[in-house]
């Protein structure tokens, strides 16, 4: 297989993840509706989670959870091989990051509710207009 082909096969899912990330990022910075911005932020973050998890995966690997005792009994009997485990650390980091993400989302949505009560709108340009008129 050619070098380019290898590169494409080896990296294409990172590129798709980047595409997803950038779609989310675009929604955050281009859209004027506050809820829409938070939706964009969510897309952006979920895609970053996927980036992290992609790097932990090993081809033919399995979940880093050990099988129970009977497996090891079989292992000795049938001399089968130990499974290869995908890397557990990205999972750990992303579990933390998901929690941070939902915390941010909750706070942002609470702010949006209050902004709607104070301004009667959740459109960025209308809020700006009200602030300038005052």
């Amino acid at each position: 297989m050619s070098h380019e082909m290898n590169t494409v096969l080896g990296l294409y899912n990172y590129w798709i993840v980047i595409f997803l990330m950038m779609t989310g990022f675009y929604v955050v910075i281009a859209k004027g509706n506050l809820v829409k911005k938070i939706i964009g932020l969510n897309l952006f973050q979920i895609s970053v989670f996927l980036l992290y998890l992609s790097m932990g995966k090993i081809n033919g690997g399995t979940t880093p959870i050990y099988p129970d005792k009977s497996f090891f009994a079989d292992l000795q009997d049938q001399s089968s091989t130990m499974p290869v485990y995908s890397h557990p650390l990205p999972s750990v980091l992303i579990l933390t990051a998901i929690v941070v993400g939902i915390a941010t989302t909750a706070l942002a949505l609470a702010l949006i509710v209050r902004i709607h009560e104070a301004y009667g709108t959740i459109e960025e340009d209308e809020i700006l207009l009200q602030d300038q008129e005052a």
Binding site: I65, L95, A106, A110, V113, H116, E117
Partner: protein, 140 residues
């Protein structure tokens, strides 16, 4: 409200299982997928479902806001206390190995307790957030 009789009965049947599943995820996290955070979310989902179907007032009676708010703090304090216990027993902060007669058991105990702390805080925060949003009415 009679229109929702089926919904109410099904919910009543479901909630115990949701809460039970929450507890399972909480205490089985060492062996399979799951842990304190997921358990907290599932447990809170049970209460939230109750609130959605039977009204926010009913949910508040089951989980009074002031107690839930205290539980937020309690969960984090359980976590911190586990860490400090490690320090008092001569280890570093969050060193579980010193908590029991041998390191392996200490680790198991430590992990179990801190996961419980996480679960309590997460469930309490989720329920609090639900109450906060549901307690607001729409303004024009």
């Amino acid at each position: 409200m009679n229109h929702y009789a089926i919904l109410r009965i099904v919910t009543k049947l479901l909630i115990p299982y949701i809460l039970l599943f929450g507890l399972y995820v909480q205490f089985h996290g060492d062996f399979g997928p799951g842990g304190g955070f997921q358990a907290g979310v599932i447990f809170a989902a049970g209460i939230i479902l109750y609130g959605l179907v039977f009204g926010i007032g009913a949910a508040r009676r089951v989980a009074p806001a002031s107690i839930v708010e205290r539980l937020i703090a309690v969960g984090l304090l359980i976590y911190a206390a586990t860490g400090i216990a490690g320090m008092l027993k001569g280890g570093n902060f969050l060193e579980y190995g010193v908590l029991a007669h041998d390191a392996g058991h200490g680790q198991h105990w430590g992990i179990l307790i801190v996961e419980l702390g996480v679960g309590i805080t997460v469930a309490a925060v989720m329920i609090t957030i639900f109450f906060a949003f549901a307690g607001r009415e729409r303004t024009e």
